[in-house]
Symmetry: D2
Subunit: 454 residues, 4 copies
């Protein structure tokens, strides 16, 4: 199933054709009546270091199957039962994806039924005693008006064999898994366990991550809505900072290993003066340090806003121990560390500052999706059903440079996407804030020298 790479001899045009394994040969006529079905011919893209990482910004060619309805499908709709499960943390738009899958499966293909698995992978495991629910066009017709997930969610892995047992019991042919990195790895394990048993199962992932850190996914669903809410919180922090002599507003945003929300919200709202993300290694003290730069800003302008991603500045703090239920390392608390350091710094120089801290995380992730994310979620859901009915598996549906494509699970779980600080995008963030460039660790050169010396 792994992507097949054809090196054309031209370093900058390595072509990677990706083929999604089939459950079986698609021989059934689609019940859809469009004249413009999509075939499996790979669509070529040129991707640069914003996707591929590294200092070199030369784009490389990669080709992927386009999403969309196929003329021939594998599963016979009246005999096909689907299931949907949602895993991990909340994110705007999950209900839109659920709704779209149900509508397309029921209205478009006329499948036998769509099951909703409650509370993530727990819902497959008998000991948790969560009921399986039947999802119908009627029961989901208004769910997009609400944030969160009507199915509930949970964190952490479950035994793939038990999951496949449940799928067999429930007679499910197409499984849609909406979740992040861990969920997509679980999707892979479930698909492989099913193949081992000779079971005809299509497993389609819909990548969900409010951190926007999934490999090859330009922008995960819900991201724009999250940025909108994050920018509102930054505006509030700015208002608070303006409201006191030497006012400092600090906003903590999501972003365990990548600072996309922090960066994007910063460009959006203009009022952030310092943006700290996991991808840069800033220092607090000394030349190019955050604290002197903050002092300078306060002396000149009287107020400042700091946006900090939750995963930023881990290098500054003690090592932590342990991981959470999803297997993610538990992060040290940068925002409180920062607050203490700021208080201590300004106390030493006897400069009175007023500090206001905002953590809007749960407000950001639990609101309903905005119009653009609704469009995106709707198309992801439709694409997922088309892919499943055509018998594809071990893949996700995704938007890549304005095109909906099929990407192999192995590709998107190969690594976490990070904000490339050598990219044009990060330069734009720095341009937007102005003050940024004075901080060490914010420019690619600094970053790599940091890597060496620390």
């Amino acid at each position: 199933m792994s992507p097949v790479s054809h090196n054309t001899g031209n370093e900058n045009e390595i072509t990677i054709h990706t083929k999604i394994d089939r459950v079986g040969v698609a021989r059934i006529d689609s019940p859809l009546t469009f004249s413009n079905f999509v075939d499996d011919t790979p669509y070529p893209f040129f991707l640069d270091n914003e996707f591929l990482g590294g200092l070199n910004s030369k784009p490389r060619k990669l080709s992927f199957e386009l999403a969309g309805p196929r003329k021939k499908i594998y599963f016979d709709p009246p005999k096909t039962r689907c299931a949907i499960v949602t895993c991990g943390g909340l994110c705007p738009g999950i209900n839109d994806v659920i709704r779209s899958i149900v509508m397309e499966a029921a209205h478009g293909y006329g499948v036998a039924g769509v099951l909703g698995i409650r509370y993530g992978l727990q819902g497959f495991i008998p000991k948790y005693k969560h009921e399986v629910v039947e999802l119908t066009p009627d029961s989901v017709s208004q769910i997009h008006q609400f944030g969160g997930t009507v199915l509930g969610s949970s964190r952490g892995p479950q035994n793939p064999e038990e999951v496949v047992d449940a799928l067999e019991r429930l007679n499910v042919s197409c499984l849609f898994m909406i979740g992040g990195d861990g969920t997509l790895k679980a999707a892979n394990a479930v698909s492989q366990e099913a193949q081992r048993r000779g079971m005809r199962l299509s497993v389609i992932g819909v990548p969900k991550t409010i951190d926007n850190d999934i490999n090859f996914i330009s922008r995960s669903f819900g991201f724009e809505t999250a940025v909108q809410k994050a920018s509102e919180a930054i505006q509030c922090a700015h208002t608070e900072a303006l409201g006191s002599p030497c006012g400092i507003g600090i906003v903590k945003l999501m972003g365990r290993e990548s600072g996309f929300i922090a960066a994007h919200a910063t460009i959006s709202i203009k009022e952030a003066n310092f943006v700290l993300i996991p991808e840069t290694r800033f220092s607090l003290h000394g030349k190019g340090g955050l604290l002197p730069a903050l002092e300078d800003r306060l002396r000149k302008r009287g107020h400042a806003v700091i946006v900090v991603a939750e995963g930023a500045g881990q290098h500054l703090m003690q090592e932590t121990a342990g991981t959470d239920a999803s297997g993610n390392p538990i992060l040290a608390d940068i925002s409180h560390y920062l607050i203490e350091e700021i208080k201590s710094y300004f106390s030493k120089i006897e400069m009175k500052v007023t500090l206001k801290y905002i953590d809007p995380s749960y407000i950001i992730r639990s609101v309903p999706a905005n119009a653009d994310d609704r469009v995106y979620c709707g198309l992801l859901g439709q694409s997922a059903v088309h892919a499943a009915m055509a018998g594809k598996t071990e893949m996700v549906v995704a938007k890549l440079m304005d095109r909906y494509v099929h990407l192999p699970l192995s590709l998107v779980t190969a690594r976490r996407k990070k904000l490339n600080i050598a990219s044009s995008y990060w330069r734009s963030v720095l341009e937007s804030t102005g003050q940024q460039a004075t901080l060490s660790g914010m420019l690619p050169g600094d970053f790599y020298s940091d890597e060496k010396t620390e």
Copy 2:
């Protein structure tokens, strides 16, 4: 200046006429051209225990001057300079009040100028070196689009003599002080110091409190906007609670000594199951305790939302020491206490719960006012200017039962308003949540027995 009480012999119709001291006799014709000026005849109101406290709900009659333009004014507009100062924490609508004062003083009366004092009472004190700014219709025309205060604010008292020194230096005749309890007390002190010096100074307060806890003020400006944002946070907590097996959402809202925001947001959004406010003394354990009631709710419905005012449950925690810059006692942290108690309780009974905590305080108080609060703030600002120009002083402008009135500073600072749990209003809160009535301490009887036993 104190309110004059006339007991009519009828216990339930005690009539209190209130007369606002004059700076001097108003002899100048108002430049305004309305035919329906307001005179000083007291307007009668009947107020019940929601205002007056106590278990007895019988209304009593009180009369107050109506706000509005007077035919004769005391200060000669072309020779009159005004000043505005904003104190204490942020609240939606402050900029609307500032804008309205400037517009009415400049366009309505044609005063010589309006000064903006920066950063609260600090702005009067030379050592802080805050610049005084000139406020003009042009400079304030768009400020209502922004939250916070364009003048900045600060906490804590300053020497009234130094304040009056500054007012003399700046040649100010009318001072508008926008602030809470402490600020209104300071307004009194400033006015009395000015009178001691024989200075003709009108001091008008505009009561600002996001807690809605000022005596005789039905609803302080910004309260509705705050409730709107608070209800959005509760909705998010509900979405998070639904998203996990045995999900608990906790929202901390403002309310140091009174639970108005918590109560009002609870009626508004319907999703809160438990509301804890400073006016009730609930217990955590045992019959009628919060934790068994929470367990019961989770077993029956699978999710729960708790709204807690910051001042609730102080009786449960250790005594704290010290006060903040405004002289308010520093509260013990009820939300984290509650979180630890909940975790410990469910850990002991081996029931797995997922707890999400939201503290939306700075987001609630720093947004721009909604349309209704804008109307309110605009009318408060106009009323304040009318009162000052007429030579009234040591008073606040306020909305009481849909009428704009003048209230003496001594009355509104006599005590903090609290939510009367013997009122119809609190009964409605209990009706809205349903579960509430099962908690001890939520009903008046419980409350008073608590008082005795603890």
Copy 3:
């Protein structure tokens, strides 16, 4: 049933005690467990000309029953069936009222059932074949998230005998009618028909009018939300006006016979320069006319915004013929008349203007209620159920000067409430816009002279 008036001899303190007829003697113990039930003692209010009309602003005393739960009720809950019907145009908050009635009736009293009548009074009439629906706490739990009415609505009267036939067939004891003037008159007719038949029927009205024109109702539910949306439309008109040389933005707002939304939105958003309402008779041409004032504004400031209530300026246009299904006279189209007159005026003086017209009516009335209206609607619904269960009838529940009261149908349908242009409120509107006072017809004096001469 009519209000009983006791003249005390003091012209300004006429006391009107209002007693709501009972269906029968309330002998059953309420199942509610509050200690602070409400009794029928009238609560006194002082109301001025904003309520009572006229030039004289002296307040008069009126007393009304307070809303709230009674210790003794008339209807035995397990044998009681309720019905809800919604009539007339949409308004924010209808679903909140429905939800609250269902929740209180089911959870609070434990009634036998609540029926939803579809599409207004049509739903009672067999020939329309609309199904009656059962409303349960589950089926209504989320409806407050949506604008409009889940029951549907229709305009126009139906035969009261047929309505009572249906109520007998459906075995309904408590009927809740949510609607405007016509609906409340129908409520009266239905109640009297039931009494004629000796049927024990409680008919409780919940006044609904986006125009805010119901007698004795300070502010009808949904009004604040409507003003918020209206103010957003005015902001858009202002932005459009700023965007063109000599840009004119015109916003038409609801208000057939009273200009409350136009007036309130105008105070709220500050950007309106001219506000035309049905209660004032402005002229277009000549001294004090709108068009020269508009020209003046454009020459001085380059842009202008006009807010016009749909019922304004009817005196300027040809008589219309006919009435709509609700019996309201069909209004002549003031906005298009105004547009043509403006075009013609500026074309004659060869001044190029750009005119943008916004009619946001359906957007204003179909959105969900904001937090404050939700509180209001929730308390109205609860109050309505308390009143019905206590056996009261031919009344509405309403908020009067911050208190929830029972008002007799005969009082609230006696006349339409109008914005009193002799009130302080209208003076504040004029103060807010500034330009207003220059227009003839905007001041009380003008108005009354207009009455005489036209």
Copy 4:
């Protein structure tokens, strides 16, 4: 300056390299301090029929310069004066673009000054007597909080020679023109007139079109915000339709020659049942006609929503005469035509329907941009300044498949972009509505046969 095409012999991989003419050789070191400048190497894209039109969906390769800062620039910043002009109708985000240009030019490059031209091209022409304003970081710092354009706008062409006269008088080296198709053609004419005079002038376009109909621009700025507001209007129409027996809601949206907003809002909000856009030729009567389909929908579901782009259905109506000030043909009024046809149809079959019509156009286009559009506008503004300073001209900055690029004016003005109804995108619109596919004219086959027969 025209694009240079290299046919590689492979029909599906025609490579078009585009080179933007330079004003002169860039020899000055950029004052920017980034290490990752962008060079002029073309970046390759594969574009399909969504961009290129036609039935064939095979992607073709096209290459364009990337936007971003160049290491060497042409204009010496301290000697360089910039000017900004905004033309045509309003669109969310214009102020964000203005702000970003000013910030980048002033803070990034330190140019001598940025001029704001008032009211579109009129601002260059002396006879209109519009003042030129100086734009500074301070004066623009908050303008992004407001919709519209702080510079004002106007429609229609002006003499390019007069425009260049003004630019010479004002000593402008870099002109930024924010506008639609007509403006970009004017930009071309201005640039060529300047070259004729040997003047060193960089003319950079920022494509603005709320219709999203500019060639090669995936999504014009403000589009997402417009879709959000449009979807809110559709939701209101749906609520109104639900509120009456046989309720029909009609929403007219922008889209003179292309139905992008209508299509996108339809996918977004799910409640639209019929979407009529200029690119499809539907019929009203007979099999596959809109009216029988509407009747069918009403009989089955009781309510329906129709979204109609303003340019839809022109083939159904009489020819119109004349063009507006911008040279666009004046469209026949499809919405009122539709309303009359619907009324007449249902009147004939004696079926009572209730019809509510919403035209939200000015509300959609005059709101401030949402967070995502703000990011987009900010990056467009920065990119425009980078391009101008590097001496590029006769080009626009644009986002193409997630990359910011330089496109020649000749390319983007070659034709209007239309929604390709043979694309996957349109199929998704049809899938979203469900009912659509039954209408004739909605599928590519129908469309082309329509072309033949009408």
